[in-house]
């Protein structure tokens, strides 16, 4: 494989003919060498979906790189920028697939499911501790109910309870990932300030729930 500087990568990919073909060939190899390291946390390499996913992501990455090549600003190695694009495509696809595979019926059932064990129903906790936790939780819940807007509540439920991917939640809420992140950030800041006004810290509250 030819070693290229950023400038040579850009020149070869923008050219036509043999230099372009060779650059595409080498880039394909680089993507396919890197992707398995990015995917192993998500999908075992012996999974039958692994190789087709690598192929699909490689193809899509090459198209996107050629399409967005003018936006490369040279702040990193060109190949690092390409790996970043491949990872975004691969993880978006995996999240979309995981989300699509969960049935919506199951999710709406989960919304009404009882709370997970261990938060309030800790069998090892003394009655006083359980009562203290219940009081803390009720207090936090009251603050949340007073402070959160309906949209912030919706986002918390989709992301916090249903584990919906950010992109899917943004789509459901007819917004985009940046705006959704901002919505959550504003909610977190408001809650943090309100807790501080009430003399509470997130750590105090978590300790009340988690310490046995």
């Amino acid at each position: 494989m030819t070693t290229r500087t950023n400038e040579i990568w850009l020149a070869d990919l923008r050219s036509s003919g043999a230099a372009h073909e060779a650059a595409i060939h080498d880039l394909r190899e680089i993507i396919q060498k890197g992707l398995p390291y990015a995917l192993t946390r998500w999908l075992p390499s012996n999974n039958p979906l692994f190789q087709p996913l690598v192929e699909e992501v490689t193809q899509e990455t090459l198209l996107r790189v050629l399409d967005q090549i003018d936006s490369f600003e040279g702040r990193s190695l060109f190949t690092t920028w390409v790996h970043k694009i491949a990872i975004r495509i691969a993880l978006t696809e995996l999240r979309r697939k995981r989300w699509r595979d969960s049935s919506l019926d199951e999710l709406s059932e989960n919304e009404d499911a009882p709370p997970p064990p261990g938060l309030l129903a800790d069998s090892h906790a003394s009655p006083e501790t359980s009562a203290e936790r219940a009081d803390m939780l009720a207090r936090v819940r009251r603050i949340l109910e007073e402070e959160l807007t309906p949209k912030q509540r919706e986002a918390l439920i989709l992301l916090g309870l249903q584990d919906m991917p950010m992109d899917a939640a943004a789509k459901r809420m007819k917004t985009n990932r940046n705006a959704l992140y901002k919505l959550l950030h504003d909610a977190r800041l408001r809650l943090k300030r309100r807790l501080a006004m009430e003399g509470l810290t997130p750590q105090d509250l978590l300790s009340a729930f988690e310490n046995k």
Partner: protein, 95 residues
């Protein structure tokens, strides 16, 4: 207090919503501790992710030089996943 939020609070008192589950409350509390008033959007983080990870692999000072990116990664699990994945790729393919 922002007037919009004041009215929102009044509205919430008179229109109680379905109770949030414990799991949602606890997950929310877990990230609250690290919230700062400065913020970076997912797009801004993504634009700098390659530079950030390269710096982290080469000189381990990325978190110090680019603290806002680190804060975003800590707060946003999906951007955090992309950071971890790119870090894994660079660590294993660096020549």
């Amino acid at each position: 207090m922002n007037i919009k939020y004041f009215f929102q609070r009044i509205k919430n008192i008179f229109n109680p919503q379905k109770e949030l589950q414990d799991e949602v409350v606890v997950k929310f509390l877990r990230v609250l501790e690290n919230v700062r008033s400065e913020e970076m959007s997912c797009s801004e983080m993504y634009a700098h992710l390659d530079e950030f990870v390269e710096r982290e692999v080469k000189s381990k000072d990325a978190k110090k030089i680019m603290p806002l990116i680190q804060e975003h990664i800590d707060m946003c699990p999906e951007c955090g996943d992309e950071y971890e994945a790119l870090l894994d790729v660079l660590k294993h393919t660096e020549e």
